[in-house]
């Protein structure tokens, strides 16, 4: 493989569309004669709908229909579970009965000729309830802890319990011990783009312009819900305005949009409000964790206990890999992990950037920092002392692991050596300065994917896959992979995504798009080259007529004879003679034998510097440096953006983000972007992302591990550790807020 495209800092191929406003997101697909649907959410936290005064609203100007459980069609809801759906439980069904499971659950949809009419009708719809008191707090009356049923299956992906050695004895006997509890608030993804679906039926065929990180699954799910063939459903989503996991699943509003469109026999646009996004489209579950570390006096871990629980809904068991990283991050002979769920009267959580690891590693890395102070050992040195030689949780070697290289690179860039180790010892004028470090890790996942390449008469290529681009730059990076493999300039390649009738790919999440779709694009490019070569060999007009394939090769988009001196033939030559575009499909999946042999993860080290105002407790992140060993970097410009963007998300997680529920009725009290805080431009300091060169031939043919999740993972603990260093005050619950810092 030549390197004329991969590894180059190309600007975004979709940049022009995005800066001119021509990139179309779901709600931008206005259809002729479309009506507007607005969801009405339950105003109780648990109970039943006892009556709906739909007639009053039907008489209002412009209102066409009101859908409720009383008049909604009974839908098929055939069994359907994708990898992004909880393995245990059943999805919320839309308007199929009178039960209210959580505050905000859809109980009606008002459809009108204009958005103003639909909004007003929805606001005026009177719904009567028989309310019960919900349980929305994971600790306290009504909350019970359960063992996740999927976590005790022999082949469990996330295991409820793991152990090696005897961790409890080890920590009890350890001369140095840390035993601490950590909490993380419920977070909402809050992408800038609200969830939206424009639905249109043509007979029994359904087209959805819909915000989705998984168009193939949205098609399959809608087919299952409506009991129609998947081929009769088309999902279109060329652009996603951020998602961070919230659009992995197909939530009930998509069904409602389709139902509404069928009801009024017109295309219908349904856009969730910002407030509705806090209850209807998942969240990072609240977690409570306990870490116990036992260590020798010279800093060798002897025992590690990681217990954690996350909230879920009553109707589904959402699981994430909360404790998994504790098994492999450090060398430790004795380990015990326990993962439990607390079902609550709430919507089902779902994956949010860095799911599992972001929360679990926060606890582990804060505890490691606490241990470093207890021991009087530099936090970075403590990690070095406990660097494992293999993944001790699976007893497999790592396909590659650059954690210590990441620490070295980032520490140097950050200036870690200038840190005075004593807490509350560094100042800049009045301000307390703190420096903190944390490790990051995320599995290098891979899933089967496919792609199609079409070589055109003009010598250019079209590449298609049912993939998504929520912001990392899928359009650009796939263009680079295709250009590289085909030997074409990137400008001659057009990559298309976001249609469910394109070759299927896995969900756009879990940092596996580059690995999975990229490998498929590469495979499809190789397949089309093979096809073009065969066409040339079969074509009497070609210089390669009847040649042995093994004597031919491709170089920079030209077919050449090995050792030959002629210019050979270009794609354009061969395609033009064929008289039609030449296309081929390719697919890729990880070799099971290789997957069984290695533990595959990306690693990183993150350093943060905070300034804390000792008088009023404000915290600002002045600098952060992250170094990542994430395999091959396809586009360093976009990769740096993705990683510094993840750091910004980490600032939010550490210092701002929390969705607060009123325990009386389960409502999200701060379901508003002015009240659920995420960082604004003035909140960020100097952020820098560095990449350790890694050549990992095992993860996939491209050697990529993925970046989206690990970009977030280490930032929050690095900040929390820096806040401790600045103030001498250990805050173990996120977000760390002013009131925590000034509290005496």
């Amino acid at each position: 493989m030549t390197t004329n495209s991969i590894g180059k800092p190309l600007t975004r191929v979709d940049g022009r569309a995005k800066v001119t406003g021509s990139a179309q997101y779901a709600a931008d697909f206005n259809q002729p004669d479309q009506a507007y649907a607005v969801v009405v959410g339950a105003t109780i936290g648990l109970g039943r709908v006892s009556g709906i005064d739909a007639e009053d609203v039907l008489g209002m100007p412009g209102v066409i229909a009101v859908l409720t459980h009383l008049n909604a069609p009974r839908l098929a809801y055939l069994p359907h579970k994708a990898v992004i759906d909880p393995a245990v439980g059943e999805r919320l069904h839309a308007l199929q009965d009178d039960l209210v499971h959580f505050h905000g659950q859809p109980v009606a949809v008002v459809i009108a000729d204009t958005l103003d009419h639909a909004d007003h009708g929805a606001a005026r719809l009177n719904v009567r309830y028989i309310a019960k008191e919900p349980t929305v707090e994971p600790v306290g009356p009504g909350a019970t802890t359960v063992i996740p049923a999927a976590g005790i299956q022999p082949d469990a992906w996330i295991r409820a319990d793991t152990s090696r050695g005897d961790a409890d004895v080890a920590v009890a006997r350890a001369p140095v011990r840390i035993d601490a509890a950590y909490g993380i608030a419920r977070e909402n993804h809050n992408p800038m783009e609200p969830h939206a679906t424009v639905a249109a039926w043509d007979g029994d065929r359904l087209t959805l312009w819909s915000k989705s990180q998984y168009v193939v699954n949205e098609r399959a799910e809608m087919a299952a819900v409506f009991g129609i063939p998947a081929d009769d459903v088309q999902v279109i989503c060329p652009f996603i305005g951020g998602a961070f996991g919230t659009s992995l699943r197909t939530w009930p509003h998509v069904t409602l949009a389709a139902m509404a469109s069928r009801k009024v026999a017109r295309p219908v646009k349904l856009v969730l409000t910002r407030k509705q996004m806090f209850s209807l489209t998942g969240h990072r579950p609240r977690t409570h964790q306990r870490i116990v570390l036992g260590s020798t006096t010279d800093g060798k871990l002897t025992g590690l206990v990681h217990e954690g629980m996350g909230e879920t809904s009553r109707h589904e068991e959402f699981m994430e890999a909360l404790t998994a990283a504790s098994g492999l991050m450090y060398a430790c002979p004795n380990l015990r992990t326990r993962y439990r769920l607390v079902p609550l009267d709430t919507g089902t959580p779902n994956h949010m950037r860095g799911p599992g690891e972001a929360s679990g590693i926060f606890a582990l890395e804060c505890a490691m920092d606490e241990l470093s102070y207890e021991l009087g050992i530099d936090p970075v040195e403590l990690r070095r002392l406990n660097e494992p030689t293999i993944d001790e949780s699976s007893n497999k070697p790592f396909s590659s692991r650059s954690l210590l290289e990441c620490y070295a690179l980032a520490a140097d860039r950050f200036g870690w050596s200038r840190r005075n180790p004593a807490p509350r010892s560094m100042r800049d004028g009045r301000l307390l300065i703190g420096m903190g470090a944390a490790s990051a890790s995320y599995p290098a996942y891979h899933a089967p994917a496919s792609a199609r390449v079409r070589l055109l008469a003009d010598g250019g290529a079209e590449v298609e896959a049912a993939a998504s681009d929520m912001g990392p730059g899928t359009y650009t990076s796939m263009t680079q992979v295709a250009a590289e493999t085909l030997g074409l300039p990137p400008g001659r390649v057009r990559f298309r995504l976001g249609r469910s009738d394109y070759p299927p790919t896995p969900s756009h999440g879990g940092s596996w798009t580059m690995a999975s779709v990229g490998s498929a694009v590469r495979a499809a490019c190789i397949a089309v080259q093979q096809e073009v070569m065969l066409r040339a060999i079969a074509d009497q007009r070609s210089a390669f007529f009847d040649a042995m394939p093994s004597t031919l090769r491709w170089l920079e988009g030209r077919l050449l004879r090995e050792g030959g001196s002629s210019q050979g033939e270009s794609y354009r030559d061969i395609v033009a003679r064929a008289g039609e575009a030449i296309e081929a499909k390719g697919s890729a999946q990880r070799d099971a034998e290789v997957a069984g042999r290695y533990s595959m993860h990306a690693f990183g080290a993150v350093f943060a510097e905070v300034a804390v105002d000792p008088d009023v407790g404000t915290i600002s992140v002045r600098r952060a440096v992250g170094a990542y060993g994430a395999g091959r970097i396809i586009n360093p410009r976009l990769a740096a953006s993705q990683c510094t963007g993840g750091m910004v998300g980490g600032i939010g997680m550490a210092l701002m983000e929390r969705t607060m529920l009123d325990r009386r009725d389960g409502r999200s009290v701060n379901a508003h972007m002015a009240e659920y805080l995420v960082p604004v431009n003035l909140d960020i300091g100097v952020l820098e992302a560095l990449f350790v060169e890694e050549h990992d031939p095992h993860v996939n043919p491209l050697g990529v591990k993925g970046l989206g999740e690990i970009a977030l993972v280490g930032m929050a603990p690095a900040i929390a550790n820096a806040v401790f260093h600045a103030t001498g005050k250990r805050v173990r619950d996120l977000p760390i807020r002013i009131e925590d810092v000034v509290a005496t």
Binding site: D119, A123, V616, S620, R667, V680, V742
Partner: protein
């Protein structure tokens, strides 16, 4: 949003007539339209007053006069504001966002409604929105609510930053209504919730804020606005304070302290001010004054932190003002 009829007026007299006929004034719209969309506000007739000639900003001697329709951004950036009352500019720039400051008027800023989430959710009990329905915040989530001036009926804070500065500076309002023109201190615009939290201000029906008059004088020169919040911008205050000091020969001759985020209206701290007179501008004196400021504070279940934070914010703001040359 409820349907409404819409008129644009171009003179004060037209505006007053329209209001007398039941119209609701619409200026920048950043509060009203937001709440109309939530159907918290349900005016049936809107009177767009943006064309009225009330946007002038000017100086009279050392006093600053601000037309009620001047935009927050224009006041903040106006040379006379910066010359005479930089505190006002500072408080304005700490509020909202550049886009909102371009739209929102000064009069509207003072009349903005509370940010209490229960007030903003139609299905929650709220005495301000629906008298007699109860206060959801008292037994609910109230970390952002008031510790002073509360009643058993309402605990919402007044959200304006500007109002805190104006109250500290003894600014007055000129209003016009069916009965003619009158003037009164900005501080008197805001009512305590008491048993009638739905009555937020003292304007009479149909009255229009015409102008804000900010007297000049020594306190204007050493004056700072300190806003404490969990992100650096685009957030309402947890606690804020506007302070002004008149220091001569190392002694405090005059002091003004008002706070936001802690009271059900912008909260003037007169006992603290009095305690500073004659003192040297040092931390001990500021701390003693801040101690008086929190006397009588009644924290709710979720906002005990505000008592200490208010103390700290006042001390720090006084230091910042004292450091000005």
């Amino acid at each position: 949003m409820f349907p409404f009829s819409f008129d644009k007026v171009s003179t004060e007299d037209e505006a007053l007539r329209a209001a007398a006929a039941g119209g609701r004034f619409l200026a920048g719209g950043t509060t009203l339209i937001d709440l109309m969309r939530e159907e918290i506000e349900q005016p049936r007739h809107l009177v767009d007053i943006n064309a009225l000639p009330l946007a002038e900003i000017r100086a009279e001697g050392s006093d600053l006069l601000i037309g009620a329709l001047a935009r927050m951004a224009d006041v903040a950036g106006h040379p006379e504001t910066l010359r005479l009352h930089p505190l006002i500019a500072e408080s304005l720039l700490e509020g909202a966002s550049p886009q909102l400051r371009n739209a929102a008027s000064i009069g509207g800023n003072l009349l903005q409604r509370v940010r209490c989430p229960y007030f903003r959710m139609r299905d929650a009990a709220c005495n301000k929105r629906m008298p007699g329905s109860g206060c959801s915040a008292i037994g609910g989530l109230n970390a952002g609510h008031a510790i002073m001036g509360t009643s058993e009926h309402c605990v919402a804070t007044h959200p304006s930053d500007l109002a805190v500065a104006l109250v500290a500076l003894d600014a007055t309002l000129r209003v016009r209504g069916p009965e003619g023109e009158r003037g009164f201190p900005v501080e008197d615009l805001f009512r305590l919730p008491g048993e009638t939290p739905h009555l937020e201000h003292t304007l009479m029906p149909g009255e229009l804020i015409v102008e804000v008059w900010v007297p000049g004088g020594p306190p204007a020169r050493k004056a700072r606005y300190l806003k404490v919040r969990d992100r650096a911008s685009y957030e309402f205050a947890l606690v804020s304070t506007a302070v002004a000091l008149d220091i001569q020969d190392g002694r405090i001759l005059g002091a003004r302290i008002a706070a936001g985020g802690v009271g059900t209206r912008p909260w003037r701290m007169r006992a603290s001010e009095a305690a500073l007179i004659g003192k040297a501008p040092v931390r001990e004196a500021f701390s003693a004054a801040a101690e008086l400021a929190v006397r009588g504070a009644r924290p709710l279940s979720g906002n005990h932190y505000k008592v200490d934070l208010l103390r700290r914010t006042i001390v720090r703001a006084l230091e910042m003002a004292g450091e000005m040359t």
